[in-house]
Symmetry: C2
């Protein structure tokens, strides 16, 4: 029952230095620090679309629900502070399901020092829906102004750098990925990153979004795209003729970062490899609008923005 | 389609002085002012539970989805700043539905100077789900410390004061109520309010929550509870023998405020009636734990915490 779950959570939730008032009142109160701006992002995950409860441990669903939000904060290079959790639970088995979700949410929250500040617990006859809103705060630069990455800062001549590998995330990574929060904050502190986005819907489609905001184009070097083993396995398994590269470009839910940097920064990043995860140059931003691919032979052609889109009419 | 809706919204959303970066990036960035704390609340509404799309204009559903969040901020007497909107849309007719929701959300957001800072738009084969997270900021007291109302400040001897009238909200008010944001901020600035809650699930059950946080009891004067015409109409219509008072105590979704104040403040509030909506003394906080009722003849007995609860097992 709703109040029983709230009591359970209030016992489980640890204190947090930013949390002035947590679960149990009409709203949560967060102290963000004087110079910080608040950063807000929300993601809603639904049974049958973003996961299948009949196939997956709900703990992993809970973890993913928070992780996708932390990935959005990573794409801005800001510091996660808190999250609020809204759920629509199936009436039958809802309490056990809710507790299992939190068994996935709470350890990830602890790992990234995120306060679970409250939420809204509902029940209905429909499938599970989890909507988490994450709150972050901007780091403060030397002159006191807030700093964060945007999608819109890429310029022709900039180099496109990616973290990690792409494709085949449906085989497991889409549930168990580690959001690139620590990597983003290290890069944000030590390097001049001009623009960034996280790959949630697909490398090609999310790169396209970065281009739309930046007002320029990009040429992806197909031979340089890091292809995951899962992408290869999926290509091997599937009968539709799609290659590992196709999976890398279009599968989505990689939750890696795409970065726009100046050429000299790219050279430094590649030489220093400051992250535990590889950084790879995968293309270049160009003046000509649109998304282009260069194959191994050097031929250039348009690249369709493949990936996952919610369709409705 | 998702991107078409986002483009539509970016054209519709007005600028806001607190919104450094709005819809269209990985997260929104809000400037809250140096001394302010961030206040966060979330409510999820589901078709068939909180509204019935087959009976109700979706514009009113959108409006309600934001209004319930603003009511939570009113219960803390804080200033609304922004909201993010996550929706699960039915695939068929989803675009028209989404636009209609925003036709309800945007005017209410404008009325209360709330920036729509972003969201997450999904589609599926299930019913409509809307989850809005509202962000507020605390007013700053003369000594620079943040101020907000909590549920936990009521003490024995305090007087229980309510805004407005109760009961029968299902006849229309649950969709069209005005959140008591302005009233709360005026009261917060001019009077010493010791504790507050908004009535979402029911007068009796929400008063019980205030008592649980405050660690005291309360005695409700049944003859003083302001009963709405809708409660009387509902009692007249319904065959289950419930009285207008029963509806006032248990219907919920009144979105009025319950306030705990010292006796002299209560006297001032009643004499001055500083709000457009009536303030009424409806009971007293007492040392003995629990929720009590005093009938017109003066007899005192326990009052069950009636109201709406999400049930799941």
């Amino acid at each position: 029952m709703e109040s029983e779950l709230i009591d359970y959570l209030r016992q489980r939730l640890p204190p947090h230095p930013c949390l002035r008032l947590g679960a149990g009142d009409d709203a949560a109160v967060l102290s963000l620090g004087d110079a910080a701006d608040a950063v807000v992002t929300v993601d809603m995950l639904m049974d049958g679309v973003d996961f299948r409860l009949e196939e997956v441990d709900p703990l992993r669903v809970g973890r993913k629900s928070l992780a996708v939000n932390l990935s959005d904060l990573a794409a801005m290079a800001v510091e996660p502070v808190a999250a609020v959790v809204a759920v629509a639970l199936p009436k039958r088995g809802g309490m056990a399901l809710a507790k299992a979700l939190y068994e996935g949410i709470l350890p990830l929250a602890a790992e990234f020092d995120v306060a679970i500040a409250g939420g809204d617990t509902n029940s209905w006859d429909g499938p599970l829906v989890v909507s988490i809103t994450a709150i972050g705060r901007t780091p403060t630069s030397a002159d006191g102004s807030p700093t964060y990455w945007r999608r819109s800062g890429a310029r022709p001549g900039d180099v496109l750098v990616a973290t990690g590998e792409f494709g085949g995330s449906i085989l497991g990574k889409h549930l168990d990925f580690t959001p690139r929060v620590r990597e983003a904050r290290l890069l944000g502190e030590q390097y001049d990153i001009r623009a960034a986005i996280d790959v949630s819907d697909g490398l090609a489609i999310d790169l396209g979004r970065m281009l739309a905001e930046s007002g320029c184009g990009a040429r992806l070097d197909l031979a340089s795209v890091p292809i995951s083993r899962a992408a290869e396995e999926l290509a091997h398994r599937s009968a539709d003729g799609s290659s590992p590269l196709d999976h890398a470009l279009g599968d989505g839910e990689d939750f890696e970062l795409l970065l726009a940097v100046e050429a000299n920064t790219a050279a430094k990043l590649i030489a220093e490899q400051p992250l535990g995860v590889p950084l790879t140059v995968i293309g270049q931003f160009v003046a000509e609008q649109g998304l282009w691919q260069r194959d191994a032979a050097g031929a250039i052609s348009p690249l369709a923005p493949r990936g996952f889109l919610h369709e409705f009419d």
